[in-house]
């Protein structure tokens, strides 16, 4: 079970249950220990179909680890993860394949296949699903590039793309099969504010156009406020806060205020040093 947070405000809740319809993703008491380090210490989380949850928290706080657990890229030390009513813990890689077809994931670095062109990268999931007609593939890639505002970039290699373009291509590749859910790992990190804003607009457009459930892991507060229906603050391996953007901004909890305002204090410095 999740421990009660130190500052019991109304907006700070331990067990996270969405107010919307049946959960697309449910995480129960998820824990992960790597070596001697406890990364996740009992995460409870639900994400309803069609909603966007932003998971915020400090760097190295376990946000990306949590995200990787949701597609079975990492196995937890304890806990359960339910995707559309199926517990994915203990599934083999091949069984997870069926679950992964429902979920797209944008990696922090884009994780583009560097031996393939932009077109081949984006068409990859369709090819793997058995689509062989070059006309169909080209048309679908062109459509995705239009959504990403990257028309005419089909023949470029990943090494010649900027950081923002890599993320867009990675996003196009992850959503070309129209998954029900998209996981974004730091979609705006390392990008200038203008490109970051264009990524935020893109995420919102995808939500409206395809109605996808989204989980956005970020430490960029503008990104979180721009795209999220709800925000969860991950702190020291636990969900410390869960609520709407407005509730987060109104919170008087010192830890949340420090994070929102980008303030470090002595206690945190001591912890970092330790």
């Amino acid at each position: 079970m999740i421990e009660a947070p130190p500052s019991p405000e109304s907006s700070i809740k331990p067990g996270l249950v969405s107010s919307k319809s049946s959960p697309m993703i449910a995480v129960r008491t998820l824990a992960k220990t790597i070596g001697q380090q406890e990364i996740l210490r009992g995460i409870d989380l639900e994400v309803a179909t069609g909603e966007t949850l932003a998971i915020i928290g400090r760097s190295g706080g376990g946000k990306s680890v949590l995200l990787k657990h949701l597609v079975g890229l990492m196995q937890p030390s304890a806990g359960e993860i339910w995707i559309q009513g199926q517990n994915i813990i203990g599934m083999s890689e091949r069984q997870l394949g069926e679950i992964r077809k429902k979920i797209g994931m944008l990696f922090q670095s884009g994780a583009l296949f560097d031996s393939m062109t932009v077109e081949e990268n984006i068409a990859f999931p369709l090819r793997e699903a058995g689509e062989r007609d070059p006309k169909v593939l080209r048309a679908k890639v062109a459509e995705m590039l239009e959504v990403m505002e990257m028309e005419g970039q089909e023949d470029k290699m990943p090494e010649s793309l900027s950081g923002g373009m890599k993320k867009r291509v990675g996003l196009a590749r992850s959503i070309i099969r129209r998954p029900s859910c998209v996981l974004y790992d730091e979609p705006t990190s390392g990008l200038d504010p203008v490109v970051a804003d264009s990524i935020n607009r893109l995420i919102r457009r995808l939500q409206h156009r395809f109605g996808m459930t989204s989980i956005v892991v970020t430490h960029d507060m503008k990104n979180a406020f721009d795209v999220a229906d709800r925000i969860a603050y991950l702190h020291e391996g636990r969900i410390y806060f869960h609520g709407t953007s407005a509730e987060l901004q109104q919170s008087s909890d010192p830890l949340i205020q420090d994070f929102l305002l980008g303030r470090s204090n002595g206690q945190q410095e001591k912890r970092v040093e330790a």
């Binding site: 597609v71 890229l73 394949g97 992964r100 990696f107 670095s109 590749r173």
Partner: protein, 264 residues
């Protein structure tokens, strides 16, 4: 005594864990070969990488090994008046030992290193995680085409190495060492049996399996960025080369029971 065994225990355990991982990878790959569709384009690409692009290395290795072996054998045998037996010695040695082992070592250096580096780079840049997230099993996509290409290419490369080695050995013997060509050929054909060739090709198949799984395993378990990939590549080449040399002894003993050496 306890300290000795505890000091011995950790490396031994890690060695057995490593062996277990390679065996599991091998089993998973063979299961995948028989139960899942083959990506023909990737397989043909790997045939080009492993087979076609290794031609030059194998031809030079086989050619100069045959030539030098022919000369050295002549220098020794000629003292005993057995110069005409050079062809038989060169041919049988190339078929049973030299061609499979030297080709395997060259392929481990050229192809094994490339496999390990490519897969390792994919691992540390999250491309393998991306494959998995896109519902593609990395063994099916990365290991199966490489393993099949190696199993097909290695026997052909060894056959080529044998042929080139025998040819250069013949030319050195006839044109540089003045051995009678008729006796040379007659002895070579008399003493070289089909079982010698089968043994060489069987060894090539086994060495191909060793190289591909050791290299792919090192790539798939690479970590810690560029340094990790470099380390994985080095370890892949060293481990594959050592495995080839060690297994060669046991394969020789085993195959000698099935295909005994000599004229029987």
């Amino acid at each position: 005594m306890v300290r000795f065994f505890s000091a011995l225990g950790a490396p031994l355990l890690s060695f057995f864990q490593y062996l277990g991982e390679v065996v599991l990878l091998t089993a998973d790959t063979f299961r995948s070969i028989f139960t899942h569709r083959l990506r023909w384009k990737l397989f043909l690409n790997q045939i080009v990488e492993v087979g076609l692009l290794s031609q030059l290395v194998v031809v030079i290795t086989g050619g100069f090994t045959g030539a030098v072996f022919s000369a050295q054998t002549f220098f020794q045998f000629n003292k005993l008046g057995m110069g005409s037996a050079v062809g038989a010695v060169v041919s049988v040695s190339l078929c049973r030992e030299l061609a499979p082992v030297l080709t395997a070592l060259m392929v481990a250096g050229r192809v094994g290193a490339a496999m390990s580096a490519e897969i390792g780079t994919m691992k540390v840049t999250e491309q393998i995680d991306a494959l998995r997230a896109l519902a593609v099993y990395p063994i099916d996509y990365l290991v199966v085409p490489r393993a099949l290409a190696m199993m097909v290419s290695m026997p052909l490369l060894v056959a080529e190495c044998i042929a080139v080695g025998i040819t250069t050995g013949y030319f050195v013997a006839i044109f540089m060492l003045d051995i009678n060509g008729t006796y040379y050929m007659a002895n070579m054909v008399r003493w070289t049996r089909s079982r010698d060739i089968i043994m060489g090709l069987s060894k090539a198949f086994c060495f191909g399996i060793l190289i591909v799984f050791i290299s792919c395993h090192k790539g798939l378990t690479a970590r810690e960025g560029a340094v990790g990939v470099g380390r994985a590549t080095t370890e892949a080449v060293v481990n594959a080369s050592l495995a080839v040399l060690v297994c060669n002894f046991f394969l020789t003993m085993f195959f000698n029971i099935i295909y005994p050496a000599g004229f029987q």
